[in-house]
């Protein structure tokens, strides 16, 4: 492992990853990989998550292709220097901010969307000119193996490496020094990653999770709301970091919500959900048992069937859930939707604010004012109103958490910026040294006044106007005099 990390670092030092043409070439190669080896990639994802190929394509591959195309299109613009506004003192100088690669980036992927959550950050890191080490999640083993096979066949083998392994290997890897680490996963491991990063003063982006609340107002189109919630909740068998984790609504709405979600589930997966090719399974036995234990003592309004042999858990809804119960203590990450009754939007806000800041917040309401009010009085990584998940899909929006749901963000330009150092540059000439005499000691009160003129914003504008007027006056005088001659 030591050798591989050193090799990647040496490759970065060679400067090969920096020219834009090289970065474009690598991104295009990555796109070719996704297109040419689609079958292998889909097979790996479907094997890991019991997912249909179409779901794997639409949930993961599409996002990756979209991101690559976006990078290719925008790279010249994003990699270019941005001029900075100058003051009087620096008027004749060149001032700009130049994006630069950081160096060697470590990307630690997650198992729930094993392809996109590893490759999308990779795209940003490559676009920003870095060398990258990718550590896919060992839990989604097929994808991990496939990535290790495919990436070296298409990308520069020295600059981009895949290192596979479990907890032990990851701990070993984290002892090395990186220039940025992006980790997707849970808060516990997030802290371990940040702690390791602190030893080397490595900046981190942590995409964590939490319990994403979904507030359903009485004034909303309940049919549409329940269909969208069901879609977002049961997608990938609930194993989505931004899935609506639980619902908050007035007690009177519970029954309606249960009924309408039941209808939506039937519409999506048919009478025999187990047979539906579109319904996934829980990733492994440990998580299966974990989710099962959350059902204990709960009022199951709908669903609740399980099958350990296939790690199947039916789309499930719990009603009248007690906020103190186990299912409300941890991120569910499964197809179980608790409904916690609240008396009002105010109570919902109190409930949400008593807890850790979530990765996502969902609000279903036709009342725009109420929606804005809810947003104003809470905090979360992101928000989608009258839908779920969708803010993830717009690449012009940053994707990231706040508080214990994470720090930093990526997607689109945010990826590029996350993996770049934005370096301010001021270029002066060696000429016109006379003008500098103003700043050198020995100092005097008049020098302080001049300093204020050039530096103090308020002062300089007023005085500048005066100066301009004076100059104008002089000009007029000269012109008049010239006219007389």
């Amino acid at each position: 492992m030591e050798r591989e990390v050193q090799r990647v670092r040496a490759a970065f030092r060679s400067g090969r990853s920096r020219p834009l043409t090289f970065r474009r070439q690598q991104l295009k190669a990555l796109r070719r990989m996704v297109q040419e080896r689609e079958k292998d990639i889909l097979a790996a994802i479907t094997a890991d998550l019991s997912k249909s190929e179409l779901n794997a394509y639409s949930q993961e591959v599409i996002s990756v292709l979209g991101e690559i195309d976006l990078m290719l299109e925008k790279l010249p613009e994003w990699a270019a220097a941005t001029p900075a506004r100058k003051n009087l003192l620096t008027m004749l100088d060149e001032a700009y901010i130049q994006p630069e690669p950081l160096g060697v980036v470590l990307i630690i992927g997650a198992w729930n969307y094993p392809f996109v959550l590893t490759i999308q950050p990779l795209i940003g890191a490559i676009a920003a000119g870095n060398a990258v080490i990718v550590k896919p999640s060992e839990i989604s083993e097929n994808t991990a193996t496939t990535l290790a096979e495919l990436l070296p066949q298409y990308l520069d083998q020295d600059l981009y490496a895949v290192i596979n392994g479990g907890v032990e290997e990851t701990t070993e890897l984290l002892k090395h020094r990186f220039d940025h680490i992006l980790y997707t996963g849970n808060a516990t491991v997030g802290k371990i990653v940040m702690e390791a990063a602190a030893k080397h003063l490595t900046p981190v982006t942590l995409e964590l999770g939490g319990k994403s609340p979904c507030y359903v107002d009485r004034d909303c189109d309940l049919d549409v709301a329940c269909r969208r919630i069901a879609w977002g909740k049961y997608m990938n068998c609930g194993q989505t970091c931004i899935a609506p984790d639980y619902v908050l609504c007035e007690p009177a709405l519970q029954d309606q919500i249960v009924q309408k979600m039941k209808d939506a589930v039937k519409e999506f997966y048919g009478e025999n959900i187990k047979e539906s090719p579109d319904y996934e399974r829980i990733i492994n036995l440990r998580h299966f048992k974990r989710i099962l234990s959350l059902l204990e003592g709960q009022k199951v309004a709908f669903g609740g069937e399980t099958d350990e042999a296939t790690r199947y858990i039916a789309p499930t809804i719990l009603t009248d859930v007690d906020p103190g119960s186990k299912v409300m203590q941890e991120e569910i990450f499964g197809p179980v939707l608790p409904i916690v009754p609240v008396k009002s939007a105010e109570e919902a806000v109190r409930f949400i604010n008593e807890r850790e800041k979530p990765l996502a917040l969902y609000i279903f309401s036709q009342d725009n004012k109420l929606t804005k009010w809810l947003i104003d009085h809470t905090s979360s990584g992101g928000v989608t109103g009258n839908d779920v998940i969708m803010h993830f899909m717009l690449s012009s929006l940053p994707f990231g958490g706040v508080g214990s749901s994470g720090m930093g963000a990526y997607h689109g330009k945010y990826s590029f910026d996350t993996f770049s150092h934005q370096r301010p540059c001021l270029l002066k000439s060696l000429k016109r040294e006379g003008a500098n005499k103003l700043r050198y000691p020995p100092n005097s009160p008049s020098k302080v006044d001049w300093a204020k003129f050039f530096l103090l914003r308020r002062f300089s504008r007023g005085k500048l106007r005066l100066l301009l007027l004076t100059l104008l006056g002089v000009l007029v005088a000269v012109l008049i005099k010239a006219g007389h001659c």
């Binding site: 979209g66 808060a187 929006l397 990231g400």
Partner: protein, 466 residues
């Protein structure tokens, strides 16, 4: 008994009440800060003179004026900065409202250093207040005069339910760091930066670390030695060298060194007179500990200029060292004093290799008449910031962020960058409930026609949407 619990609890409750969020409240705080600077200018200058023997000129241009500018900029732009930022939408979200909401994090901790005790405490404060946070300020206990003014006078100008100054040394700071903050901005050494980040880890608190390092200053053969000497000397000896972005050491050829030395001597004499110790424009070392440290560095290499010191005043003369070895202490640690070692290199490439063998510095300077040389240095190195034929004058530009990279730090601030640093950028997408039929495409079951439609629609454009 933890002395901070009550204060922090109070601030947290105030934040929870929403007091700091309206623009009027934030503007009132900023105006209060502006008044503090205007009404206590003499007091602050006195404190700076007491702490660092800082001249009124230096106090003005590098501390008070900078703070005033930041306050004015924030007041002028507050509404614009606070506004929700619209973002580009894709085909499927055309009818939705997509924007980024800037939100305060909550409770912000600012841990400040002693070298620019007004600037490096109050400029971050401007950003944190403008962004709507409650703030805990921990000024440096080493710059005692300024600490006193900040602790006793500043709170009178701000709403004390949302703002507190806490005092103490390393032990108290350690205790403070056990508490949860929603953001921490620290300015200081990399060593302490690691401690801060490790403490922040326990609560998953994001941080901005403004650290330091050895800022190289490359002087090409193709340049006018006197001009270069003027600029380098000014930026080196400003604040008696106690500046995180000061040129730390010079890299040049032996021939250039021979021309540079008399030019440096000339600049120093012009700036500070024949007897720099009596110049009102030269400051002093902050305390005896640093004085001793710097005096020890004087025995590295050979003193070409200066070298005098006076313990009773913590005075060290503007000094230039030559014949320095890379392994000597003066080339191992950030100098942070009025000592400028010159290392010889045989040209630009050797200078670049020298720089790249070491930690990424906070600032990097290159002096040359040739644009090509300056740009090559820029392209082949990395640093927090870069000055070509100039020192840290970019610090006066609020459009340029201040921040490090690698060992010299993470994150950045100044001007709008401060506001953005202390804000959570919350992605918001507000959909309408209508037009649900259009959504039919994304719901299971995925029949043959749906599969084809999705693949076709999304193959046609680069949108990342199901």
């Amino acid at each position: 008994m933890d002395p901070f619990t009550d204060t922090l609890q109070r601030l947290r409750e105030a934040f929870g009440s929403g007091r700091t969020r309206p623009a009027e409240f934030r503007a009132a705080q900023l105006r209060g800060l502006g008044r503090f600077l205007r009404e206590n200018k003499q007091l602050l200058q006195g404190a700076l003179a007491q702490d660092l023997h800082k001249s009124a000129f230096e106090g003005d241009v590098s501390e008070i004026i900078i703070c005033q500018n930041e306050v004015d900029l924030a007041l002028k732009n507050l509404h614009a900065w606070m506004k929700d930022e619209s973002v580009a939408k894709n085909l499927f979200t055309q009818l939705d409202s997509a924007f980024i909401r800037k939100e305060p994090f909550g409770l912000v901790l600012i841990v400040a250093p002693w070298n620019y005790p007004v600037n490096l405490t109050l400029v971050p404060l401007v950003g944190a207040l403008a962004a709507g946070n409650c703030v805990v300020l921990k000024p440096s206990e080493i710059s005692k005069g300024t600490e006193k003014v900040l602790a006793e006078v500043l709170p009178r100008y701000l709403d004390q339910s949302c703002f507190a100054v806490v005092l103490g040394g390393p032990e108290e700071t350690g205790q403070l760091l056990k508490h949860k903050f929603d953001y921490i901005l620290f300015t200081g050494s990399p060593r302490v930066g690691k401690i801060i980040m490790a403490a922040a880890t326990k609560h998953l608190t994001p941080v901005t670390l403004e650290l330091g390092g050895k800022n190289p200053c490359y002087v090409d053969d193709d340049c006018d030695p006197q001009t270069v000497a003027n600029r380098v000397a000014w930026f080196r000896y400003f604040n008696t060298g106690q500046t995180c972005v000061a040129p730390d050491y010079v890299l040049c050829s032996p021939e250039m060194q021979a021309r540079l030395l008399p030019a440096l001597q000339s600049a120093i004499t012009r700036f500070y007179g024949e007897d720099p110790q009596s110049s009102p424009d030269l400051g002093r070392i902050i305390n005896h500990k640093h004085f001793q440290r710097l005096r020890d560095l004087l025995s590295c290499g050979r003193v070409a200029i200066g070298g005098q010191s006076d313990e009773s005043e913590c005075y060290i003369a503007p000094t230039v060292l030559v014949d320095v070895q890379e392994t000597e202490p003066v080339m191992q640690e950030e100098i942070f004093g009025p000592i400028l070692p010159i290392m010889n290199v045989r040209g630009l490439d050797e200078a670049i290799d020298f720089i790249n063998r070491r930690e990424k510095p906070l600032a990097l300077y290159a002096f040359s008449n040739s644009n090509q040389v300056v740009n090559r240095m820029l392209d082949r190195t990395s640093s927090g910031s870069f000055g070509g034929n100039e020192g840290f004058m970019y610090m006066t530009l609020s459009s340029m962020p201040l921040g490090g990279v690698g060992n010299s730090g993470m994150g950045r601030y100044h001007g709008k960058f401060s506001f953005d640093t202390f804000s959570h950028h919350r992605a918001c997408l507000l959909s309408c409930s209508g037009l649900e039929k259009l959504n039919a495409i994304r719901y299971p079951p995925y029949s043959e026609w749906k599969q084809q439609l999705i693949s076709w629609a999304l193959g046609k454009q680069s949108c990342t949407l199901l």
